[in-house]
Symmetry: C2
Subunit: 205 residues, 2 copies
Amino acid sequence: MERLKTYPQHMAKLITELAKMPGVGQKTAERLAHYILRIPPREAMELARAIEELKKNVRNCSVCFGIAEEEQCLVCSNPRRDPSVICVVEEPKDLWSIERTGQYKGLYHVLQGHISPLEDIHPEDLTVERLMERLSNGTVKEVILATNFNVEGEATALYIQKRISALGGPGLKVTRPARGIPHGSYLEYLSSAVLADALEGRRAF
Amino acid sequence: MERLKTYPQHMAKLITELAKMPGVGQKTAERLAHYILRIPPREAMELARAIEELKKNVRNCSVCFGIAEEEQCLVCSNPRRDPSVICVVEEPKDLWSIERTGQYKGLYHVLQGHISPLEDIHPEDLTVERLMERLSNGTVKEVILATNFNVEGEATALYIQKRISALGGPGLKVTRPARGIPHGSYLEYLSSAVLADALEGRRAF
């Protein structure tokens, strides 16, 4: 980058590293680097250490493949969670989005992605087999397929649903979160696809 | 923050540190932390190290108070720069903005702030005395006061101009960058203050 030439070497290096982050362009990276230049060294070291400690101390939960600091994550190791329900999500961030609702008391399974032939991501690249293993002992009564509501997420949900129905075991329900009108919306601003979903899924009032 | 409670400890810590940066809110900090979680450890360590190295290796230039990796900065130590002109700026980032024009061949002096009684910042908190020392040996023929064009910057420029004129030496010019219409503007969108400045400063065509 032309702009980097005027900076001292270590400043240019930090700007380059910061600019690799998503949504951080060259100018934002420069602004952040200037901020780091200005703050007391102790504060800057705290930031650097937080990055290092995160990478050193997190791993995949051995059960659900979510983010864990121990062998099992905080959800899997919590005896008060309901082991009869597993919510399947694509990424750890989806897990945390659901946790923040405070409504869900079951367990999770993180696929670590979605099926996408275009991106060369196939079922065997995901943690589907481990999910099937978790379903094999009869504890689980419901699997909620909470993959994203886009093409890849739907394809992934469909694949897993087929795999589960091939198990043939009775008493294992497969569900998907409701499609519909998002809380707080005005009907006039919603797309036809959203409205069509919501009408099709209408419920007794 | 309520949202942090669902994250493992090291994730929450990184989000907290990232959210301290200017223009980075809670949601952006979460997005960046998720990115750092996802990338290979080596890349994350590069970012952490870039922060640490910047803080360890930069210091104030002993001459101009800009950012240096040696005792003197890249500008002050460059024998091809014109020592008869000093451009006075508030912060290192202002220096780099001017360097990027590629037009300026003189030296700099970084005040490390501006005079602002409201923020309890007074001339003695800035590097003004060191500037006066630099002007005392007769090498400098022009001082360009490139502080910001706002209340604090104008007050700071005025203070320094008075200090220099009190030196009483002849042959030391004090200038200020031109006020006027920014390159690329449409007249209809400019404020009256900008247009008034531009008209007052009009030049033969």
